[in-house]
């Protein structure tokens, strides 16, 4: 390949680009995507990401189940989703091509590692002919590059095994993308030094791979255009890139400090919640204790024990873990101790699809326990909002002496976006006092406003008392089988949780307060719904968006908001759970739009559903 007659490269400015990296789960696609995301974020783009990986750590190499993907969207304007469809697909092998090509619109750029298109790899995924050669990819803008060979050449002389060389080819692809989108290699080069500083040969090999990919873009005649996505105009402040699980952990730690309480996090490893345990376990100098329990039940049991002792007890899991924790959640309801239960939802039922997103645990956490068992439920809408909602969960748990369920999901947990750091001094003091005064102490007396019972922790002289799962006599707290007392206690527990509606913000409406259509959502569907509503509004439709962060109790004005529109559409990544609740609670003839594909909504499908409803009379 010569460069003597190289044509000048044109630079095209774009508002937004969506790239999907796809390869074998051993190809390092998550790392590649994360590095590109960091670089774009530091440059000042708004970003949104969607990692999509198999549950198998290393499925057979080159197989369809082993394909791991990472989609990221970066933009010069405010974006809410990782993009419906990629503009560019980077496919490292035939399996990645086959499983992702359907999402790439015609005309999209397709960058393929042609070295991996061997007869064996093609056969493995059912290609009878090589798609790079048979013309079947003519609808796309195909760039077939011998990434493996070029990369191996760049690494010659380092004395690496062919396997070690192969492991760096993702950085070749990353380098090429950096060139194509005018991104600096510096943040990644620095990352390589930090990560592999003690293994200089490995560091050198990754750097060479990255630079070789970049240089290839520069010197090849394949690409006639590079693309520039200018920095976004984000509100002033200090930013960092953050995933939902990271933001959740930070929110809990900051809330613990603002409450003046030690934190205790008991958890059992489970996808996609484990990162919260990993992260909190590094915060030992922030008053955080973590405990990897023997099972889900022990995890919540230990958290209840810690709360009983005056710390803030927390546990985190996903849907299958919630099923196991249900009995203990009910114990927390009965003994009225603060407790945070994090459910990072994944596709169910049963083991379901552990790495895929869904929001189908809402009814489980509300009603999946014996007896009437009122529990507070909150749900963040975006990765960075996980910080605020985790803080809110702690505030409510402490103030009302109640378990609070925090419903995140796999998309929020692993998805990333830029986060404007909050001013920690402006966050409220959420501390509550322990009961210390023996005079007039009764374990089940109640605060007249919050209906919270006193937090009387062991070690406090004169407050020795007994609690437990058996029904308690009002005020006195002794075991009671009295029929009227049971009725009273049931209504008190329900009233305590219902009363929280007076202490939470009203449901906000984006768009007209009255109109043809309200789209009501909760959780991680926020981005897709908001983008869809922005499009509909731009088309002149009287459409509004409201998004619930408090699922129990609902904000006080929820019914009034719903009443303002001719139609109410509730899109959910389940088969109609919030829909059931709002129909029952507010007698509103809302309709659902349900998709349970293990993936976030596409903006276009919500727009289409809204258009369909608007067209109905």
């Amino acid at each position: 390949m010569t460069t003597t007659t190289k044509r000048p490269v044109e630079v095209l400015e774009l508002d937004r680009v969506t790239i999907r990296f796809a390869g074998d789960s051993g190809d390092g696609m998550q790392l590649t995507g994360t590095q590109f995301t960091r670089t774009a974020a530091v440059f000042g783009n708004d970003i949104s990401t969607l990692p999509d990986f198999p549950a198998e750590i290393r499925a057979p190499a080159g197989s369809l189940p082993g394909v791991s993907g990472f989609q990221l969207s970066f933009s010069s304007s405010d974006i809410h989703t990782p993009g419906d469809q990629p503009d560019v697909l980077v496919a490292m092998n035939p399996a990645a091509l086959k499983s992702n090509l359907g999402d790439l619109p015609p005309g999209g750029a397709l960058i393929v590692n042609e070295d991996a298109f061997t007869p064996a790899n093609l056969t493995k995924v059912g290609y009878t002919a090589n798609p790079l050669l048979d013309g079947s990819l003519s609808s796309w803008n195909l760039f077939a590059i011998p990434i493996g060979v070029l990369n191996a050449r760049a690494l010659e002389g380092l004395g690496l095994t062919s396997k070690q060389v192969d492991l760096t080819k993702n950085f070749f692809a990353l380098g090429l993308m950096f060139w194509l989108y005018e991104r600096s290699m510096e943040p990644t080069l620095k990352w390589i030094d930090d990560k592999f500083g003690k293994r200089p040969v490995i560091a050198e090999s990754n750097k060479r791979a990255l630079k070789a990919g970049y240089a290839f873009g520069e010197t090849t005649e394949m690409f006639h255009t590079t693309y520039r996505v200018p920095a976004a105009h984000l509100p002033a402040g200090t930013y960092r890139n953050i995933t939902g699980n990271e933001a959740t952990a930070l929110g809990l730690v900051v809330a613990g400090q603002k409450a003046g309480r030690d934190l205790f996090y008991g958890s059992y490893p489970i996808t996609p919640a484990s990162e919260i345990l990993h992260q909190l376990s590094t915060y030992k100098n922030y008053g955080v204790k973590t405990f990897q329990a023997e099972d889900e039940i022990a995890a919540i049991g230990s958290a209840i024990g810690a709360s009983y002792g005056g710390a803030l007890g927390m546990t985190g899991t996903s849907g299958p873990g919630i099923a196991l924790k249900s009995e203990a959640m009910n114990l927390a309801v009965m003994v009225e101790l603060p407790l945070i239960v994090i459910d990072v939802q994944r596709a169910g039922p049963s083991t379901g699809m552990p790495t895929k997103t869904e929001q189908a645990d809402l009814l489980q956490v509300l009603y999946g326990r014996n007896g009437d068992s009122p529990i507070v439920v909150v749900a963040p809408a975006t990765p960075s909002e996980c910080f605020d909602v985790a803080f809110e969960a702690v505030r409510l748990a402490l103030k009302y002496m109640t378990p609070v369920v925090y419903l995140s999901d796999a998309f929020l947990a692993t998805g990333a976006e830029p986060w404007r750091l909050p001013d920690v001094d402006s966050l409220p003091d959420i501390s509550v006092a322990n009961r210390t005064e023996p005079e007039g102490f009764y374990p089940y007396s109640r605060d007249p406003v919050t209906l919270a019972r006193p937090w009387a922790v062991p070690g406090t002289p004169g407050l020795e008392h007994r609690i437990g799962g058996l029904e308690k006599a009002d005020v006195l707290g002794n075991v009671s089988y009295d029929p009227d007392n049971h009725h009273l206690m049931q209504t008190l527990r329900a009233a305590k949780v219902a009363g929280i509606a007076n202490d939470i913000p009203d449901l906000e409406v984006f768009g007209p307060e009255q109109g043809d259509l309200l789209i009501l959502g909760w959780g991680s569907t926020y981005g897709s719904i908001r983008s869809a509503v922005e499009r509909l509004q731009a088309d002149g439709r009287a459409v509004a968006h409201a998004h619930l962060r408090h699922l129990n109790p609902f904000p006080r004005n929820t019914g009034a908001v719903l009443a303002g529109y001719r139609r109410v559409l509730v899109p959910e990544l389940n088969l109609g759970q919030l829909l059931l609740l709002v129909r029952a609670r507010y007698l509103v003839d809302a309709v659902g739009y349900d998709r349970v594909r293990g993936k976030p909504f596409r903006i276009a499908e919500i727009v289409a559903e809204a258009e369909r409803l608007l067209a109905e009379h």
């Binding site: 002033a236 930013y239 309480r261 022990a298 230990s302 709360s307 322990n434 210390t436």
Partner: protein, 356 residues
């Protein structure tokens, strides 16, 4: 910004050890009796365990507000209501989990777990196992009546093979579990056995339990006079018990019998009952109990009436770092290395950028 503070607004109690007893408080049995009416069946062995527990508590000289009793479900689960300390009657089998979290958050407390053979070894088997391997500093008292009493008489994990109960009219086909072997396999640092009706021995054993730092497990053989009456009569009755039970003393030869003329000797690696004076056997030939020897502990956990006298007393007592000590050490190390965490630094950790 407030510094992270200790979870409780109360001073930490003095560390529990005999050396500190002088600075501790003077209480009596009455201080530990709650105002709740005791509601076990008349004649139940649980009364005796409760009485010994209440009698024993003042010996520790520990403020009663720093003592917590946590139980699961079953007849034993009621005990915390009758102790005028802090108490938590939790859910079936899960008391060790609550105790683990409590002890992690509050190492200053003395935490007892009251459980039964079904609660600890059936539904809560996993938790008891892991609390022991972690050496959580809790004192587990397991009432073993070899039956489910509260649910009115079904087979338990310690019921004898073939036992006829309401749920096993043709006899249970499940092999009983040996609680002491389980405790040993799970690395409990203190293991003992006593009997409800042997009040003096029970009190002495519970005293040892109380002073132990680490995971203590004591099996109390307890009679259920309604659903499994006479469960242990064959070797616990006053007339026969000295001949049929082996009272263990650390560093002493294993001698038993009304006339102190019988003992346990090792023949190869097998224990055997021998008579002192017969065939030239002297006391010096007997096995000497060593509370730190796991092989002796395992042997003792396997022998039982009628082949052998039933060993009672402390089977194992070793000191190793407790779960809360290790946890605190890691926290201290993190503080020494990185200082008290500053949440501003925490939030700006990693890469940040400014937008003007």
């Amino acid at each position: 910004m407030t510094e992270p503070v200790s979870s409780a607004a109360v001073p930490e109690g003095p560390p529990l050890s005999p050396e500190n007893a002088a600075v501790l408080v003077q209480l009596t049995r009455k201080d530990f009796v709650s105002d709740q009416e005791v509601r076990w069946c008349p004649g139940c062995g649980d009364y005796s365990i409760l009485a010994q527990t209440q009698k024993l508590m003042p010996d520790f000289g520990f403020p009663k507000e720093n003592i917590v009793f946590i139980s699961g479900i079953g007849c034993s689960g009621r005990l915390p209501y009758y102790m005028n300390t802090y108490g938590f009657h939790s859910i079936h089998g899960r008391a060790p989990t609550i105790a683990t979290g409590l002890k992690a958050a509050r190492p200053d407390l003395m935490v007892w777990v009251i459980t039964g053979d079904g609660d600890a070894l059936s539904i809560g088997g996993n938790h008891i196992l892991h609390s022991m391997r972690r050496n959580v500093d809790i004192k587990v008292v397991m009432f073993n009546n070899r039956i489910y009493g509260l649910t009115k008489g079904q087979a338990s994990p310690t019921s004898e093979f073939g036992k006829v109960t309401k749920s096993t009219p043709a006899g249970t086909i499940d092999q009983p579990i040996s609680p002491l072997s389980v405790a040993l396999a799970a690395e409990a640092s203190f293991i003992a056995r006593s009997v409800d009706t042997h009040t003096e021995h029970l009190q002495g054993t519970l005293n040892r339990v109380g002073w132990h730092r680490g995971s203590a497990f004591v099996e109390v053989l307890q009679n259920c006079n309604i659903f499994n009456d006479g469960a242990y009569r064959e070797f616990t009755d006053r007339e026969v018990r000295e001949d049929r039970m082996l009272v263990l003393e650390n560093g002493k030869p294993m001698v038993f019998g009304k006339d102190r003329d019988q003992g346990i000797r090792l023949s190869g690696h097998q224990p055997e009952v021998v008579r002192i004076g017969q065939d030239g056997i002297r006391e010096a030939d007997l096995l000497v109990h060593d509370e730190t020897d796991p092989l002796i502990a395992f042997m003792l956990s396997r022998i039982f009436w009628p082949e052998f006298p039933v060993p009672v007393g402390v089977i194992r007592d070793v000191r190793r770092p407790t779960h809360d000590e290790l946890m605190t050490a890691q926290t201290d190390a993190a503080l020494a290395q990185r200082g008290v965490g500053d949440i501003r630094r925490l939030l700006t950790g990693g890469e940040t950028w400014s937008v003007e």
